[in-house]
């Protein structure tokens, strides 16, 4: 795929405007590639269906395992397996996401090659030990946490991105790590656990239930996280200015009615688009100099996808 692009570019360089030879050549190449592209698309469709099935299987298996461990009076330890399954689930979700994007973007451009490359990498790592384990979040199914954003594809993708950069993060020996909109607390808890040097891990969320949930997630996973219930970056004004070493932010990306911003709980967490923009405009100055590279937000995820 990359070859096609380079040929096109060189022809482009030589000529300007109308060029029948170039058009003919381009058409020829496109026609030549089309059957393969169609085939790949067909395969992707098939793989995606399989992935979804696999995902469902893993989920039922997880539930079964949980049920067994609950029903089993004998001290049968499934913990390890549940952990492995959760990690695999995360990987499957990420691959699914890449496939989805591949299908969405189509293979007519060179992006397809990049996506395929990422897919290949993800598949290679499927069997690897996950460095950054997905924290347990079984307690999230409790009714009281129904208003907390459950870890989904974006959370897992964020965990993956953090995992990839874990070496870099650790090499800078961060002192203060902050996650804005920590929700279930899965991301900040996971990070807190794999830092090699001690650091203050802070989680901030506008939703009081989410704050509580983050605390429980951290406790259950042996991670030390301090939680503050507050409105986005407002707390960053003043004292925390230029002292944050790692800033994690997975902002809401669903466009919502402005009225929803006033509703408490989850709708409000999702609807803070306006503040969100203000935040991304200002956050450059909030992090400590020299650590500016380590901002993890959906922007990074978008790039990643």
């Amino acid at each position: 795929m990359a070859d096609t692009t380079s040929t096109n570019t060189s022809v482009d360089d030589r000529t300007e405007g109308e060029n029948p030879t170039r058009d003919l050549l381009a058409d020829g190449i496109v026609n030549m590639l089309k059957p393969t592209v169609d085939q790949i698309e067909e395969r992707i469709k098939f793989t995606r269906i399989r992935q979804v099935e696999l995902h469902q299987h893993i989920e039922t298996l997880l539930i079964d395992l949980q049920r067994i461990s609950e029903a089993q009076p004998a001290p049968l330890d499934f913990e390890e397996y549940v952990k492995k399954l959760t990690n695999t689930k995360r990987r499957v979700m990420v691959i699914n996401n890449i496939l989805h994007n591949a299908q969405f973007e189509g293979f007519g451009n060179c992006k397809g090659a990049g996506l395929l490359h990422r897919l290949h990498l993800s598949l290679l790592h499927l069997d690897d030990e996950v460095e950054m384990e997905t924290p347990h979040f079984d307690h999230l199914c409790q009714e009281r946490y129904s208003s907390v954003y459950e870890p989904a594809e974006d959370s897992f993708l964020l965990l993956d991105a953090l995992e990839q950069d874990l070496g870099v993060i650790n090499s800078t020996m961060p002192l203060i790590c902050l996650e804005v909109g920590c929700g279930s607390g899965v991301v900040i808890s996971a990070l807190g656990r794999c830092l090699e040097t001690p650091a203050l891990c802070l989680g901030v969320d506008i939703n009081p239930v989410a704050c509580h949930c983050t605390q429980i997630t951290a406790q259950k996973n042996g991670s030390n996280v301090d939680v503050i219930c507050a409105d986005l970056a407002i707390l960053l004004l003043g004292r925390l200015e230029s002292s944050i070493d790692v800033l994690i932010f997975n902002p809401p990306y669903v466009v919502t009615e402005s009225a929803e911003v006033l509703e408490p709980g989850l709708p409000r967490s999702w609807a803070d688009i306006l503040t969100n923009d203000q935040f991304s405009l200002n956050n450059e100055s909030r992090v400590s100099p020299g650590f500016k590279k380590h901002q993890y937000s959906s922007q990074l995820l978008m790039k990643d996808r």
Partner: protein
């Protein structure tokens, strides 16, 4: 809420507040749990803190230790492990489970419940 976190917070998000620091701390319930001492961490975090505000906070929750009220700029704390251990204790091991934070300028109170300070404001206060 750790006293380290308290030292990094302010109430500057309230309309009209200039510094909003330090937040006056009152505690109903305090928990002390053991956290591994890491000398390097304390040495590196100290320059980021407001020492006097920390001492005030420690006193206000009745965890008074013999910490120096102010830090002499010439004080070589890196070499004083005893001092660093005390600082570690108040920064990392003491946690306020329930109580209140009060804005020094407006007197606005923010509750701390289950160790989580609630800094949310009403629409008209922002």
């Amino acid at each position: 809420m750790k006293l380290l976190t308290h030292n990094l917070m302010s109430s500057r998000h309230i309309k009209g507040v200039v510094t909003g620091f330090p937040l006056k701390l009152t505690a109903r319930d305090v928990k002390v749990s053991e956290v591994d001492f890491n000398k390097d961490f304390i040495v590196r975090i100290l320059p980021k803190l407001d020492w006097e505000a920390l001492c005030q906070a420690v006193e206000s929750i009745g965890q008074g230790t013999d910490l120096p009220r102010s830090l002499d700029p010439d004080f070589n704390f890196e070499a004083d492990t005893e001092f660093l251990k005390k600082a570690h204790h108040v920064l990392m091991e003491v946690e306020v489970v329930s109580g209140e934070l009060e804005c020094p300028e407006t007197g606005r109170k923010f509750p701390i419940t289950d160790g989580i300070p609630n800094m949310l404001l009403n629409e008209d206060e922002v």
